[in-house]
């Protein structure tokens, strides 16, 4: 048995204002996706606007505390405690804004008919505070941990290359960037304008 209170979960503030409160990662849950979200303040984003088209997940967002205004496929719904929205269709755009400062939303999701795979974005989110504080070694370690679980994941390889380039590990950065582009050529386009690669852009072997 392992327990925690939602207020004891890590608070990882993301660039567009919502605060990720890792639940799955806290307990190392492997059977389904589950996370909580809070907001910087009333009026801030609490669930980022996104679709689940890429992952194919269906999702339940359950309000545990406070109130939130969800926008699902362009329609607003105000939800309070013990109310939920179930987004069955992965292609629908969804997001929410907190209406109270202490609003807390729990999200449960997964892809029907398939064993749950930990989403790569969880590691990327976990690395954000380290990258923001320029703790490159820790940010790199989290990406390496992710790649041990999800080898050859192009977005993880690309992000790892970004961290390595910023952290002065230029040879590794070139290697991982090349591999990301091999797996998905769109990362070549991303790298072309990505300031993370400023330090290696003129190195021989920079793949763009």
């Amino acid at each position: 048995m392992n327990r925690s209170h939602v207020d004891e979960l890590d608070k990882i503030e993301m660039p567009d204002g919502f605060v990720w409160r890792p639940v799955r990662r806290r307990f190392d849950i492997r059977a389904f996706g589950v996370n909580a979200y809070s907001a910087r303040e009333a009026g801030s984003q609490i669930v980022e606007e996104h679709t689940e088209s890429q992952l194919g997940h269906e999702e339940i967002y359950l309000v545990l505390r406070g109130r939130a205004r969800f926008t699902i496929d362009g329609t607003d719904h105000e939800l309070g405690p013990a109310q939920l929205v179930f987004v069955r269709d992965p292609s629908l755009r969804r997001g929410a804004v907190a209406l109270d400062a202490d609003t807390l939303v729990l999200a449960v999701g997964g892809k029907p008919g398939e064993p749950h795979e930990v989403s790569a974005w969880e590691w990327m989110f976990a690395a954000v505070p380290h990258a923001r504080a320029e703790r490159w070694d820790e940010a790199i370690r989290i990406h390496e941990e992710a790649l041990a679980d999800r080898p050859d994941h192009p977005a993880l390889l690309y992000n790892l290359a970004c961290m390595e380039a910023r952290g002065g590990r230029h040879v590794d950065a070139l290697l991982h960037l090349r591999r990301a582009i091999e797996l998905d050529p769109k990362y070549g386009e991303y790298a072309r304008g990505d300031s993370d690669f400023a330090a290696i852009r003129n190195e021989p072997g920079f793949p763009v």
Binding site: R3, F27, R30, T75, L84, F86, E114
Partner: protein, 214 residues
Amino acid sequence: VADGYEILSLDDIEPVPYHQRGGQKLLGIERRLGFRAAGINGWVGDAGEPLVPKHAEDDEEELYVVVRGRATFTVDGEEVDAPAGTLVHLRAGEWREAVAAEDGTLIVAVGGTPGRPHEPSGWTDFAAADAYRRAGRLEDGRAAIARMLETLTDAWYAPYNAACFEALAGDSDRAFAHLAEARRRDADSVRKWAQEDPDLDPLRDDPRWQEVVA
């Protein structure tokens, strides 16, 4: 309900007494929504009432979320105070139960087996069917049984449980029809369980019973 999504208040789900285990009040969230990615259900109760029946999971891990009120969990003999906002994570094999410590307590349980896709087990349909039967709502009960049978098209225990429902409802023709289907799926298991199952007592003097235990 809109295309592709649904808004729901957990307070709008009718709680179903889980009579097989002690009358805990179950909210069949997974069935109500048609959620397929994981098992998800709720339990409600007032102070002193049982919330989660004592059990251990064979393979599943579970996360319990106290949404409202306060619960006392007992896990492998250890008591855990769980006010609103508490998350309790349990792995397979751990014995768990919970009792409400405040009126209006509501908890949500999410479960699944690592490395395996979620498959609905139909147990909440049978719990609902049994509760409706006891309340004299036979047609609601039969509708829940029908949902269970639609979900579990191979498992022998689905028609077997349907037979238990009909035996207790007093419809022996329907009960024997379900038992025939259960035997078609797994005659050995039916024979083994039927011998001593008190739910099937109303059928034992019927001449057709010998075919069940043959």
